[in-house]
Symmetry: C2
Subunit: 196 residues, 2 copies
């Protein structure tokens, strides 16, 4: 039995909703990228620490923090945040069964053998429809929003893991959510993770 | 219900065995790359045709045919064979439910909406063990054989489809056969193809 389920996903494929459903079905904890970011900030990434240690030099802007571009002990804030999140994900995995969506958790937990790695995707047309339904319209065309988000996720994954994002061989299971449906994907992941 | 199942696979992942099992379970026809090649040769690719029409100029060596490098009506033999195989796969799909392993069948049948596309992969160590079991030892280390075969499949897929081989988004379902097992993968594909 794999007790930790990681879900990577294309933007708009419903991966987050699927992750929540899987956690509900299995009665385990659910974490997504935002939550991990908050937890990492709370523990290691305090404003005080930054004020005490922060160097005010420009850096690699990856997240939209007010303090992006500043350095801590020679490390860019984004890399520092990455290490804090990595630590947090390793801690979360130690605590017990859970579902983790995003944040390269598949890569971070690669040394464990109780992890089930899933990737969720869907055709552009289906995802465009979904992001308008879920997040509403913006000035930017949904197809363009998808391309930008996917590109960012791919670049981020490559930067931190040196692997290609979305390659089948990175995952035990990948599913096209437009074919199986949100509920169908969740059911399948919940079932299979308990079998393998 | 998807009545045609295409299976793409990494060398040594057991994709062919899985395909055969799926066809047995569903009681439908089974075709793999070799069989399609033979069928295509029988119908359109006769020796007589080549003798009558072949131009003896060097070309792009992709398959190990004795006549690779010769041309038919300005088309390289490999491209000609590709078109014959493509025609054959389209014909096979017209005939009814079946399982097709290899030969970019997912791409060739992309206009149909009754096709279920699957990709099978496994970690290198597992595949190396399997190819020695199934095909025996050779002078070349199994890891090297895997790399060469995978590279050829990727180049071939890119050349004819202009898409990346093994990207999750090309397939409705991808499975790591080292996690689910040969029988487990076959069972899952047979079941899911009837549901979606």
């Amino acid at each position: 039995m794999k007790k930790i389920i990681t879900i990577s996903r294309e933007f708009g494929s419903g991966g987050r909703s699927i992750g929540k459903l899987v956690a509900e079905k299995l009665g385990v904890s659910y974490y997504d990228g935002e939550l991990i970011e908050i937890l990492a900030e709370e523990t290691g990434f305090s404003k005080e620490y930054i004020e005490q240690n922060g160097e005010y030099s420009p850096g690699n802007s990856r997240f939209s923090y007010a303090f992006v571009g500043r350095n801590i002990d020679g490390m860019s804030i984004t890399d520092y945040l990455w290490f804090e999140q990595q630590k947090k994900i390793l801690e979360i995995a130690e605590k017990g069964p859970c579902v983790i969506v995003g944040r390269c958790a598949d890569y971070i937990l690669r040394e464990r053998n109780d992890v089930f790695n899933v990737f969720i995707h869907a055709p552009v047309a289906e995802r465009a429809k979904r992001i308008v339904e879920v997040y509403g319209e913006t000035d930017v065309a949904p197809e363009k929003r998808l391309r930008e988000k996917d590109r960012k996720r791919a670049v981020n994954y490559k930067y931190y893991t040196d692997e290609e994002w979305g390659r089948a061989k990175q995952y035990h299971l990948t599913l096209d959510s437009s074919v199986f449906g949100i509920e169908g994907c969740a059911q399948l992941i919940a079932e299979l993770s308990q079998k393998v």
